[in-house]
Every structure is written in structure tokens, then in C-alpha cells.
């Protein structure tokens, strides 16, 4: 069967160049970079090279790169480390209602420990109101944590402007850039970012490695206590192969990002146009223009997301959904909820996220397969062409579309 992967925001295959770069570090050069002998020295250099490759991609100094185990850890370390280090200054955090759970759940936990958290709302396109952000700052505010780009909708936040606001008020600024790195140009200097989270597996490197960028001079209580690795900023033996792979992926991203982004954007636009042309009653979720070039999130009225995914899956197409049935919780996507997307439409949201391996044929295949699936599920839905519309509760909510 044809296999078309359109879930690059969930994870990406390891790029062949990355695999080739990291393979020697399993057996030939397997040492612990903390060791002083040949086996350690061999790999210590490789870790430092990777640090430079990552630093080059986001325009910081290699010494500001801390290797961690995933994007989630980077977010946890940034938030918890700041709250502990700055507790004398205050306990107020400003974030958004549409962050990834790695930030949101950490904030919920921090609330239990006595922090006050402001969750900024977003508008129907998923965009922030910067005046509202600025008004939320108090003398107690120790951190602004705003994601660079949203994983579900692809909406891009104005990070440079937020960085300027943070600087004006002397507030530390963390950004979860897990979905942005590799897809957008990232410059931590220009955007005045103090802390930034990266996850390797979103840009063609392996799962199990990430980065927390920590601007020089940023006081942060250690999240992982133990050995002296990463200059006492993150304990635990280095994931050498993963780190080498991430370094290589960053090097590739620096060289190819713009070309890839252009190609992917064209394909994504073709998919988007095709869907809206061929299928009625579809809603775009996310900002029409300020959006990751690879991401398309749409709701097909009257059908539920998981059943659509399963049907696509039977045709070899991998996508994802904001329906409760795929979110691991009982509620549909909190991101679409914050955008006030009607709950049935949230359940029917479907995300196509493209990547460097996506082809025009892939897109055409989806456009061929998708319309009949949607129609078949609509025909099965009690909400579609309902004969008792007046008495039907389910139909009520959908009339808004």
C-alpha cells in the first residue's frame, strides 16, 4: 500500500545524513564524554561540534546550549528552574492558553506550588493580543513563556515583538520553539529570547534529545541534579549519538531551511486549495497567513476526527486530529477550544503537517482519496442533512458554521 506521512508535526523520520553522522557513536566511538581517556576524548569533541551546529542555527554562542532529553524537559527546566531561581523577585508567570502540554501542565503544577499564572487568550485565528500581554505584566512577573509556533494550527506568534516587550519590562522570556526550529528562521539575539526549547525529533534527528538555550547570565535552578555534565546545568550521561544527530540536523536546517520551506509551503497551499475546492463546509483552523509553511488544520463539519483518521489510515495516509479520541484526554483540543471553535468542529479537526519528503503526488493522492471518505462519514452522521433538525440537539450547534 502507498504510505503517505503527513504528520511531521508529531515526529519526523531521521534524515539519512543524520543517521550516517550518528551511527559511529554506538560502537566505534561509544565513550562517555566525561571520561579523560581516548574513549571519552573521541566523543567529547563530537558533542562540542554539535553544540556549535545548534548554536549557529539559532544565533547564539555554543556555551549557551544545554543538551537535554526532549522538548518537554527543556520546557520543564525553563519554567521550574526560573520559578525557583527567581522566587525572591516574584511568582507570576504569563503564558498563553494554547501552549503545548509541556508548558501548560508544568504551569498547572506550578500553580499548585503557589505560583500565579496568567493564560492569555487568543482570537479566532489563534493570535495573541500584545496589548493584553503587556497589561498582564506586574512587578511580580518573573517569566513570559510564549511558544514560537503552535503545534496544532501552525499559528506563528510575533516573537520579536514579545521579546521587545519583555526587555522593556525587564522580564525573562522563554519560548517553546519546538515547532519553529527547522521551519522558520530563528534568531535569539534579534528576538531577545532568554530561554528557548528545541526537540530533535521534529527536525529529522532522533527522539530522546533536545536543547534548552540559556542566555548567558540567566540564573536557573538545575532541573536534573547529579553529575557535572553540561557545566553543572544538566546532569546525566550525554546522549552522544542523539546529540551528534541533532547537530547534523541543525547544520542541514541552516543550509536548506529556506528552500525546503518554500517547497513545502507550495505543496501545503495546493492541499489547502484542493480541499476547499472539493469539499464543502470545511473550516480552516489557525491563522490564514501567520502560519507554519507546513501545517494545515481543518475541520470537516459533521464528522468526527478519529473516524476520519482511521479511514485515511486505511488508505495509507497518516495525519492527526484534535478530537478527544486521539488527544489522550476526554476533551477535544484545548487549542481549538481557546480559539472558540465550536466543540463538534473541534472534534472533527484534522491536521496535515508536511515535510521535506512530501511530494506533489502525495498531495494529489490525498485530494483524490479524501472527498469520498468525508462524504461517506457525513452520510453516516446523524448531524448531516438531519431530517429532524428542529428537534435535534446535535444540529443546533452546527448551524453556526
Amino acid at each position: 500500500m502507498k504510505r503517505i506521512y503527513l504528520d511531521y508535526n508529531a515526529t519526523t523520520p531521521v534524515r539519512p545524513e543524520v543517521l550516517e553522522a550518528l551511527l559511529p557513536y554506538y560502537r566505534d566511538q561509544f565513550g562517555n564524554p566525561s571520561s579523560v581517556h581516548w574513549a571519552g576524548r573521541q566523543v567529547a569533541g563530537a558533542v562540542e561540534k554539535a553544540r556549535e551546529q545548534v548554536a549557529a542555527l539559532i544565533n547564539c554562542s555554543p556555551a549557551e546550549i544545554v543538551f537535554v532529553s526532549c522538548g518537554t524537559e527543556a520546557d520543564n527546566a525553563a519554567l521550574k528552574g526560573t520559578v525557583d531561581a527567581l522566587k525572591a523577585k516574584g511568582n507570576h508567570i504569563i503564558t498563553t492558553a494554547v501552549e503545548h502540554p509541556a508548558v501548560l501542565e508544568t504551569c498547572r503544577y506550578l500553580e499548585k506550588t503557589g505560583c500565579r499564572v496568567t493564560y492569555l487568550p487568543v482570537d479566532a485565528d489563534g493570535m495573541l493580543d500584545l496589548d493584553e500581554l503587556e497589561r498582564a505584566i506586574t512587578p511580580e512577573t518573573i517569566l513570559i513563556s510564549v511558544m514560537w509556533a503552535n503545534n496544532e494550527t501552525g499559528t506563528i506568534f510575533p516573537i520579536e515583538q514579545i521579546g521587545a516587550i519583555a526587555r522593556r519590562h525587564g522580564v525573562r522570556f522563554h519560548t517553546d520553539a519546538v515547532q519553529a526550529v527547522g521551519k522558520l528562521a530563528i534568531d535569539v539575539q534579534q528576538c531577545n529570547v532568554d530561554l528557548l526549547a528545541i526537540s530533535a525529533h521534529k527536525l529529522g534527528a532522533p527522539k530522546g534529545v533536545g536543547v534548552l538555550y540559556v542566555r548567558r547570565g540567566t540564573r536557573l535552578t538545575q532541573f536534573m541534579h547529579g553529575g557535572h555534565q553540561e557545566r553543572n546545568r544538566r546532569a546525566g550521561t550525554h546522549n552522544v549519538a542523539g546529540i551528534v544527530g541533532l547537530g547534523k540536523a541543525c547544520e542541514l536546517a541552516l543550509a536548506e531551511r529556506e528552500t525546503h520551506a518554500g517547497r513545502v509551503r507550495e505543496l501545503r497551499d495546493r492541499l489547502e486549495r484542493g480541499i476547499f475546492e472539493k469539499i464543502p463546509n470545511v473550516k480552516l483552523n489557525g491563522h490564514p497567513t501567520e502560519r507554519l509553511p507546513n501545517t494545515l488544520n481543518v475541520s470537516f463539519a459533521w464528522i468526527e476526527g478519529e473516524s476520519l483518521l482511521l479511514n485515511l489510515d486505511m488508505k495509507g495516509i497518516a495525519a492527526s486530529s484534535g478530537s478527544a479520541c486521539t488527544s489522550g484526554s476526554l476533551e477535544p483540543s484545548h487549542v481549538l477550544g481557546a480559539m472558540c471553535v465550536e466543540v463538534t468542529l473541534a472534534h472533527s479537526s484534522t491536521r496535515f503537517s508536511l515535510g521535506p519528503d512530501t511530494t506533489g503526488e502525495d498531495v494529489d493522492y490525498v485530494l483524490e482519496v479524501l472527498p469520498p471518505i468525508v462524504q461517506r462519514l457525513r452520510d453516516m452522521s446523524p448531524l448531516y442533512n438531519c431530517r429532524q433538525q428542529e428537534s435535534c440537539a446535535g444540529c443546533e450547534t452546527l448551524k453556526k458554521l
Binding site: 473516524s307 486505511m314 478527544a324 479520541c325 477535544p332 466543540v343 452520510d379 446523524p382 446535535g394
Partner: protein, 122 residues
């Protein structure tokens, strides 16, 4: 995640549709949990002679709807009332743990339809 039987009923659902002038209609679930099931009945001499469903919901919701219609067809009202959500799940060789509570409502929809039949046909 899903058993073969679930996938079979999901991909080839039995008895999809509506019945014109049904003897009973039942609806359970609601939009906010992402599952709505509607069952339509024809009853003759206390026996379910026709049954159809329409479902908005995930794979489990569609498969259990399909399965319950197959199990109920030809049964008497009393027999059909004995059918439980559990029995439907078992007939499908089981459902994933996280689906047992939220999407396993098809027997409830059937019972609602029978209730509606009884209420209107006394």
C-alpha cells in the same frame, strides 16, 4: 489498537441509515464528548424487523453502532433489552480501555429507541 472485528464493522458498517416513519428512535451521547448515536427501529409483533443507525463518533462508536444493530435485528423487544454495552464490546472481541466508557454507548441507544417505541406504541 482496534481488533479486526472492530475494524471490519468500522470499514463496512452494517445497517447504516435512517428509517422512514420509524416505530422508535433513540439518541444518546452529545457533541461535546464527540459521540452521538441515533438508532431507528421497525417493530412487528414485538420483533425488531428493521434497524438502522447514524453515528457521529470515533471508530469504536461506529463499530459498536454497527454491531448492536446486527445483534438486535430479529430479536424480540425483551431480548433486545437484555443486550448490554459490555456484550457489544465482547462481540467485537473487546475495545481499547480508554474507549470502554466514552464510545461504548450503542446498547444505550438501542434501549432508548425501544423506550421511545414503547412510549409511542404503548
Amino acid at each position: 489498537m482496534y481488533t479486526e472485528k472492530v475494524m471490519d464493522h468500522f470499514s463496512n458498517p452494517r445497517n447504516v441509515g435512517e428509517i422512514d416513519n420509524p416505530d422508535g428512535v433513540g439518541e444518546v451521547g452529545n457533541a461535546s464528548c464527540g459521540d452521538i448515536m441515533k438508532i431507528f427501529l421497525k417493530v412487528e409483533n414485538n420483533v425488531i424487523t428493521d434497524i438502522k443507525f447514524k453515528t457521529f463518533g470515533c471508530g469504536a462508536a461506529i463499530a459498536t453502532s454497527s454491531m448492536v444493530t446486527e445483534m438486535a435485528l430479529g430479536k424480540t423487544i425483551e431480548e433486545a433489552l437484555q443486550l448490554s454495552n459490555q456484550a457489544v464490546a465482547e462481540a467485537l472481541d473487546g475495545l481499547p480501555a480508554q474507549k470502554m466508557h466514552c464510545s461504548n454507548l450503542a446498547a444505550d441507544a438501542l434501549h432508548e429507541a425501544i423506550k421511545n417505541y414503547k412510549a409511542t406504541h404503548g
